[in-house]
Symmetry: C2
Subunit: 202 residues, 2 copies
């Protein structure tokens, strides 16, 4: 069986960068936005819309349809479930293909039969705000506004996760290791996890 | 400033063994039961009584007094606070002395000004029960009874911690790294943490 590492992360904690660095160090495939693009391609929905459903608005809203004709299909009226189901197929195919690091997308739950190393990445709010500013130097929002935005995104991630997994997002009991990147920076965390994996595979 | 690692742990998760192994690997001092003995010596209370207060019954109970005469002192009537205060003094002295690993005793909070690496160790209940049986091969209790005992000890640890720190025990936000020893065994966890520390000190 391939070796799978799933990274769940709070917005602004650096989980995505950690995943990328870890995959590079281990020579594993890395899946993140590729999943959204693949879901969009298979379901004939726009990348923007799929991303919205996955990250921000897991609800029954009216999609921007890119290809197929306008039919009363499940893909239109039940987009959240359709996207989730497509996502499950894609993730399992990816996990069958090679060792990989997968960021987000309920991958810890969807790939549970692959016995993944399940990582949760979190950080204190000031650290996450600082990180947002580094990534978007022209950010105009105040710290308070940014904190509200960050909390909002996490709230949606939690809702989405809980809806499909029936588990509390971020509850340490569902992960093998939780890393606070306010204290252990992303590079060190990636290095530490690479050491853990190479010293003896889980 | 010396480098301090604090290990908080659920009962039966192997946190104590992890701390010992980590200290050995790093060549750091290791403090665990030594703290109880030192508290007992300084407060002239029995080791058994101090341990009871710290681990099991943080309450106002009548102590078994070992040395001093029977006076209506704080040490008799307010043993929980007295023990905590002595514990604070001892931990700070230990942290001043050398690099060290400290297990339990609210050390993450008491030594916060030493900027410790704060580790929380946890595990799923079946794993903890199994560990208890390994440590006590003549254990007669059923799994259900053992689970109740484990939960009870953790409940007291949580109460004690929360009383003195005003924080939720085990909440990942108060730790730098949380390790689930059901998935990452104690030896690998110690090796990983030693790598983290030696690769670049926090």
């Amino acid at each position: 069986m391939n070796h799978i590492i799933t990274i769940s992360r709070e917005f602004g904690s650096g989980g995505r960068e950690l995943g990328r660095r870890l995959a590079e160090k281990l020579g594993y495939a890395y899946y993140d936005r590729e999943i959204v693009e693949e879901i969009a391609a298979r379901s004939e929905l726009s990348v923007h819309y799929v991303n919205d459903i996955l990250e921000h608005k897991p609800a029954f809203s009216f999609p921007i349809h890119t290809g197929a004709s306008f039919l009363m299909t499940d893909a239109i009226w039940n987009p959240t479930q359709t996207i989730y189901s497509t996502q499950c197929d894609i993730l399992k195919e990816m996990a069958e293909k090679s060792d990989c690091v997968v960021v987000g997308r309920c991958s810890d739950h969807i790939l549970r039969n692959f016995d993944p190393l399940r990582v949760f990445v979190y950080a204190q709010m000031p650290h996450r705000i600082e990180r947002c500013r580094e990534k978007q130097p022209d950010e105009q929002r105040t710290d308070r506004q940014l904190a509200r935005m960050i909390k909002n995104i996490d709230k949606h991630r939690a809702k989405y996760y809980e809806f499909f997994t029936d588990r509390k997002w971020g509850d340490k009991r569902h992960y093998d290791i939780c890393i606070n990147t306010s204290a252990i920076d992303v590079k060190r965390a990636a290095d530490m996890l690479a050491h853990l994996v190479t010293s003896s595979k889980k």
